[in-house]
């Protein structure tokens, strides 16, 4: 096969499959797959809309500024300016979100100004020539879409000297035909460009500035200062412009989380474990908005793919659409079983029996309960939002974002948590000016709109508070009896001991009335929280409403390639599952070699035991000692195995030839890094 450049590799088909793969039960997993997919699509499309809206909203301010900058660049006062208008767009270190950002920006620039926008990345620009070629290709091919071919002037192309394909003259011709106001050239990942290339680009564009109205936008991951430092003074002289800061992606992720997970109108939620995992990954490894929404999407897909009962999330589901085995599946759900047991505990045997026996009865109940569960979860999310608001307007530290409060609530840790208690205590002590702010901020949130259990009548409080404040004749804000500033300490010396005693300062009439008001507010809020904050894990049909499986998510988003290879080589039994190698792994993880293991694995284990530089001849004798006895033929066969194993290790990057010592190889990888 060596003579072929490429070929299709057909693995030999094995008659028997590994036992792991065998299915235990018959049942058709594909049942209702289409319907579930349909439901998934509906639900996800809503989420996607939300995500898009949030993203657009997140950088709308910056984008508008940039668009304004671009359209201002061609104003007459700029005409004689001696420099290329340049925007330094600090997009942040998540390289992956640069692309979508500039895509959205490009769209806006084209819509809102009469400019052309070309985005170039470092991958397309190894040198000046290729950079220009790509730029020209992007410009001219776009025209062909809306221009007839024969309209293109053929004066220069047919009989005259041709322009070389990296000649900016092409762009000039294009500009003569299209007359755009600005030619915006976006350099998406400016850090990855060679400094010298950037300098050349700037130099060239500057030289053409009298014929081509260039505007440069640089996408920057580090900071504008570091970018300026990379350019020489001469290039800097040719550039003039502004810096634009894009919203930190951690903030955007927070916003995304609150609209897609912790919001109130969501049929399917991801559970606390999964959200924690996704959020942690954002914080620790990648800060990337795209990745967040991918993770969410994958969770939704997994839920609908693997869970029969997810069909109940479909709106307007009718009984005859649901096949029998779905009901069987519902009956196996732990929360359903708990429900039945509770019914039995309440001696409501009739209903329990009916649920177990009648599919139709089960159907109506499930639909009802799913709806109820959704309401409860919405109430929970609403309570989280109210709590975040409260903490914010009380200016409490530490700052607890909605993501962390929601995950705590979803794992059932919020009820009675110190965080909540502390907040409520502060509410009790609130002074009237702050109370006013708090009411305003709660009115903005408009909790009663999305959460039916929020019954606190804010208007009434405001009215009462206004009355009290106007009646208050001192300029100081009203205080409650719990406010420490109303306490005073008194020291008395009794029998040579200092006694400290607290005294309540006498409260004024107004303060008393105010105290009552605040206490009532506090009690009402507390009732609301107690009612709304429940443990979702105990919710009936939480398996349908919440997806919280760690397993496929981690494998898909955080694979461990190096770990997998190292493990496969160090303990091949884990993967092979054969009987012969079990003995190989002795007690306490101590590996003892066994000839039945694959030769590369054996060699690898020897490799692990040796130092940074390995004598090949020693390695060979050790290898031979283990395998040589097994292979009867002769040394040659063992030698072939040895050489192949060595080559494989080298291919995997574990070893490389060493120049330091003859007959030695150098170790390049250590296990567990």
């Amino acid at each position: 096969m060596e003579h072929q450049r490429c070929y299709i590799y057909a693995p030999p088909e094995l008659a028997e499959r590994s036992p792991k793969r065998q299915r235990t039960s018959e049942g058709n997993p594909q049942k209702l797959l289409r319907e579930r997919m349909q439901t998934y699509r509906e639900i996800w499309s809503h989420q996607e809309e939300k995500i898009q809206a949030t993203l657009e909203e997140a950088d709308i301010v910056t984008q508008e500024k940039i668009v304004k900058f671009v359209s201002a660049a061609s104003q007459p006062e700029h005409e004689h300016s001696l420099a290329i208008p340049t925007g330094l767009v600090v997009v942040g270190p998540s390289i992956a979100s640069h692309g979508p950002f500039f895509e959205r920006l490009g769209r806006r620039i084209k819509e809102d100004t009469n400019s052309a926008n070309f985005v170039l990345t470092s991958g397309e620009s190894p040198n000046l020539k290729t950079f220009l070629k790509n730029l020209i290709k992007k410009a001219t091919s776009r025209v062909e879409d809306d221009d007839d071919d024969d309209l293109r002037p053929s004066t220069s192309s047919k009989n005259g000297p041709k322009l070389l394909d990296f000649d900016l003259g092409h762009l000039q011709e294009w500009q003569n035909r299209n007359r755009v106001q600005n030619i915006v050239v976006t350099i998406q990942d400016s850090e990855a460009f060679d400094s010298s290339l950037l300098a050349e680009i700037v130099d060239l564009f500057y030289s053409w500035l009298d014929r081509l109205p260039f505007v440069l936008l640089f996408g920057i991951a580090t900071s504008a200062e570091s970018f300026e430092e990379r350019l020489s003074g001469k290039s800097l002289r040719y550039l003039e412009g502004q810096e634009f800061d894009v919203t930190q992606s951690s903030e955007t992720v927070e916003k995304l989380f609150s609209t897609t997970v912790a919001s109130t109108d969501i049929p399917l939620r991801i559970g606390p474990n999964l959200s924690r995992r996704i959020l942690e990954r954002q914080r620790d490894h990648v800060q990337n908005v795209q990745d967040f929404s991918d993770g969410l999407k994958y969770a939704y897909m997994s839920h609908f793919y693997a869970n029969h009962t997810s069909i109940f999330l479909q709106k307007g589901l009718s009984f005859k659409d649901v096949p029998e085995d779905v009901f069987d599946a519902v009956r196996t759900l732990p929360s359903f079983r708990r429900w039945i047991e509770n019914l039995l505990g309440d001696r409501d045997t009739q209903q329990a029996r009916k649920l177990l026996e009648s599919d139709e009865f089960l159907f109506t109940n499930t639909v009802q309960q799913v709806q109820a569960g959704q309401n409860i979860l919405s109430g929970l999310s609403g309570a989280c939002m109210v709590l975040v608001r409260l903490r914010k307007s009380l200016q409490m530290t530490p700052h607890a974002p909605i993501s962390s409060i929601w995950t705590r609530a979803a794992s059932g840790d919020l009820a009675g948590a110190p965080l909540l208690r502390e907040t409520m205590l502060l509410v009790k002590k609130i002074s009237s000016d702050k109370f006013l702010q708090l009411l305003t901020s709660m009115e903005e949130l408009d909790a009663s709109a999305f959460s039916s259990s929020f019954t606190v009548d804010l208007d009434e409080y405001r009215q009462k508070l206004d009355e009290l404040v106007t009646a208050n004749d001192t300029s100081a804000p009203l205080r409650t009896q719990h406010d420490v500033r109303n306490d005073s300490l008194r020291t008395t010396v009794v029998a040579q001991k200092v006694l400290l005693s607290k005294h309540k300062a006498a409260l004024s009439e107004h303060d008393k009335a105010y105290s009552e008001l605040v206490t009532r507010f506090h009690d009402e809020m507390e009732n609301y929280f107690v009612g709304a904050i429940t443990n979702p894990n105990e919710l009936l049909f939480s398996e349908i409403l919440i997806y919280d499986l760690k397993s496929p998510h981690t494998e898909v988003f955080q694979p461990k390639p190096r770990f997998a290879i190292e493990r496969a080589l160090a303990s091949p039994h884990d993967y092979l599952g054969c009987d012969c190698c079990v003995a190989g792994a002795g007690e306490d993880g101590q590996v003892s070699f066994s000839g039945t293991q694959p030769p590369t694995a054996i060699l690898y284990q020897m490799y692990l035991e040796s130092g940074a530089i390995i004598n090949v001849s020693d390695l060979w004798s050790a290898f031979n000692a283990i395998l040589g006895t097994q292979v009867e033929d002769s040394d040659t066969k063992t030698m072939a195995l040895f050489q192949r194993s060595l080559a494989e290790l080298r291919y995997l990057g574990f070893i490389k030839p060493s120049k330091k010592k003859t007959d030695h190889i150098a170790k390049t990888m250590w296990k567990g890094l």
Binding site: P93, L164, I220, Q242, Q287, E566, T668
Partner: protein, 484 residues
């Protein structure tokens, strides 16, 4: 235009270039023969390009200018030269009714210097001057030819001989330094554009003083302040201001015309602000100088920046700067936060770059007490004076293999980090941000390929900031310590 008119106009446009203008006029006129080759040389911003271009277009001589800056390769230069000559020929070639365009087909490709010389010869051979005679004059200018990218070694000597081979062609080469040896041709006339001395610079910039008042003061309030008076004030103050800028800043750095002009323009608005405010009169120069002296002390005024200071000032809502603003130089860093482990990876990379690998055991072995070993090698006073060692963080970073980075990374972090692919993703992200730089080694084309070696692309200040953001004092892990 008549020659005298041209001269006087050029002289007013380009003050202090009298000699050069007269020489150009003598060498290139419509009726007298011109030299086949001229080298115009001078340092940057001495008006070479601008003056020659202006002269040629004013004098009406057929000419073409090829700017080497715009030519990406040597071949590109040839193509552009041919195209420029054809365009010029179309523009000048035929007068009056017979506006026939030249047939460009024979000139479709210019692959080498040979083709160029043949084609040019052909073109010039058919050339008809303004008076309808064959063999009219044509001037071909190569601007900045010494900085041509990917130029073959023979380019300049060959171009220098074009004038000999083609009778009515005159070549002008514009360069920075005189081309004495590289032409391989004796007796080439050179036209030197000397750098402007102080007096000339002031004279040139004085011709167009910028305005003090961007919008004229209220006509009702100051009825006698006529535009004439205002222009007089502008010129008076600008002149004095230029002198001050030269003495305090531009004399020492950026002595060429453009740098001087940029520096002056950069601080002019800030300088006249008290006048615009009405604090000082327009002729209170000495008091203005005292008040605004900080402008002449900061390096900011001479540094070229993309983001202009005006823009930055307007960002702070036009807050009036204190009289002597401190130079707030931001430490190089990141405007956005990095993910947690990425920060650690960068710190680890810095340590791997700056610590010799043999010290890793003392510094990073899990079971040794790190605190004890750190700073152990901090220089004592006596030894420091004896053997002056350069602190490590001032040296260039040395390359390290990837696994060493990962090992240091793991020992820096308390607790376990799973071996997920995200770590490698981060490394490649850092690589594309040039915070980590792949330096040679085998398979260096592949970012994560085996056997490659890496370096860090940032300095001490940066890593110190990073370390503090996650609560690590990087200096404690650096061999030899850092005394800052």
């Amino acid at each position: 235009m008549l020659p005298d008119e041209i001269l006087s106009q050029l002289n007013s446009e380009f003050p202090c270039r009298d000699t050069q203008i007269r020489q150009l006029a003598a060498l290139y006129s419509a009726h007298l023969p011109s030299p086949s080759l001229l080298v115009a040389h001078g340092l940057t911003a001495t008006g070479k390009s601008a003056l020659i271009k202006c002269y040629l277009s004013d004098s009406g001589l057929p000419h073409a200018i090829v700017n080497s800056k715009e030519c990406i390769t040597g071949r590109h230069l040839l193509e552009r030269t041919m195209a420029a000559c054809l365009d010029a020929r179309d523009k000048h070639g035929s007068v009056g009714e017979t506006k026939t365009k030249i047939d460009r087909r024979p000139y479709a490709r210019t692959e080498s210097l040979n083709t160029l010389v043949v084609s040019l010869g052909k073109l010039m051979g058919e050339w008809e001057g303004e008076d309808g005679m064959k063999g009219g004059k044509f001037v071909l200018v190569f601007d900045g030819i010494d900085a041509q990218r990917e130029a073959p070694a023979t380019l300049i000597p060959a171009l220098a001989r074009f004038g000999e081979l083609i009778p009515n062609l005159s070549i002008i080469l514009i360069t920075t330094l005189p081309l004495t040896h590289s032409l391989h041709k004796p007796g080439v006339p050179h036209l030197h554009f000397p750098p402007y001395p102080r007096t000339s610079l002031l004279e040139i910039l004085n011709t167009f003083p910028p305005k003090i008042f961007l919008s004229p003061p209220d006509a009702d309030k100051f009825p006698d302040y006529t535009p004439d008076l205002s222009a007089e004030d502008d010129a008076w103050l600008w002149n004095r201001f230029l002198g001050a800028v030269w003495e305090s800043l531009s004399k020492h750095t950026g002595r060429d015309l453009v740098s001087f002009r940029n520096t002056s323009m950069r601080i002019w608005r800030e300088f006249v602000r008290p006048v615009v405010d009405g604090t000082f009169g327009t002729r209170d120069f000495s008091r203005l100088m005292v008040n605004r002296r900080h402008l002449f002390q900061l390096e900011d005024s001479v540094l070229d920046r993309i983001i202009s200071r005006d823009a930055e000032a307007s960002k702070t809502n036009g807050e009036i700067l204190p009289a002597t603003p401190k130079i707030v130089k931001k430490a190089p860093g990141l405007q956005h936060d990095l993910p947690y482990y990425t920060t650690y990876l960068l710190i680890a990379a810095y340590l791997a770059s700056y610590n010799p690998s043999r010290t890793d055991i003392t510094y990073f072995m899990k079971h040794t007490d790190k605190r004890k070993n750190r700073r152990r090698t901090g220089p004592t006073k006596a030894s420091a004076t004896k053997a002056r060692k350069i602190s490590r963080h001032l040296l260039t970073p040395s390359p390290f293999p990837l696994d060493r980075l990962l090992a240091v990374f793991r020992s820096l972090i308390d607790g376990d980090v799973p071996q997920v692919a995200d770590l490698l993703t981060q490394i490649s992200t850092l690589c594309s941000m040039r915070l980590l730089v792949k330096s040679g080694g085998m398979g260096s084309s592949d970012v994560l390929g085996e056997g490659g070696r890496w370096r860090v692309g940032f300095g001490w200040e940066f890593v110190r900031g990073l370390g503090r953001s996650v609560g690590i004092e990087v200096g404690e892990y650096l061999v030899g310590g850092v005394d800052v």
